[in-house]
């Protein structure tokens, strides 16, 4: 069964460092998303991406965050200068064109720990 894959599974970084989280969405999907979940809290939307541009972003997704689809398969989330409060599980998700925009396939997540 096709799946969304994310790397790394866990990253520990120092405050102020740049981090790139990588995702390989399902191959025929056209919509891509990043969500995050701080430990013990709700899953929160960060950004959606379609046709090589951001289609929607939340208030959390400020200038420290960026997304990119550098080639035909990868989708990345970059945090330019990490803060302690960026510590969370980051989930990549994708969905098919034509399907309900709420039917997402999520990856297993990348746990980011900022020290």
């Amino acid at each position: 069964e096709p799946e969304v894959t994310q790397t790394p599974s866990h990253q520990v970084t120092q405050m102020g460092q740049e981090v790139i989280l990588r995702c390989v969405p399902i191959s025929n999907h056209l919509y891509f998303y990043w969500y995050r979940q701080i430990l013990g809290q709700k899953v929160e939307f960060l950004v959606s991406f379609y046709n090589n541009e951001i289609s929607e972003k939340s208030e959390i997704f400020d200038d420290q965050f960026s997304v990119e689809r550098p080639d035909g398969s990868n989708f990345t989330l970059k945090i330019r200068s990490t803060k302690l409060e960026d510590s969370a599980m980051y989930f990549c998700a994708s969905s098919e064109w034509g399907k309900s925009t709420g039917e997402l396939f999520f990856g297993e997540g990348s746990r980011l720990t900022v020290l």
């Binding site: 709700k42 929607e56 309900s100 925009t101």
Partner: protein, 110 residues
Amino acid sequence: EDQVTQSPEALRLQEGESSSLNCSYTVSGLRGLFWYRQDPGKGPEFLFTLYSAGEEKEKERLKATLTKKESFLHITAPKPEDSATYLCADLDTGRRALTFGSGTRLQVQP
């Protein structure tokens, strides 16, 4: 502001003991109500989409229903493998962002 509230926060059932989970939402232009299952340390797994009041969807021991301001996830004769956190999310008209509730942590004991 769109809010999704789930109750109870946690539920412990004996195997075979049926129950219901509640999800209430405030969005006025509901484009869809979604149920996901999340196992510890994993990403959410899509279960159901509901679009309009009165709609029902079923999958094995799970049945999801929708009213104008609430959705219920009914679990019939649960098994230990149904233990997980069940998340509800809504989608507002014109948006792509899901708003998730805090989830109900279900534990089914053998």
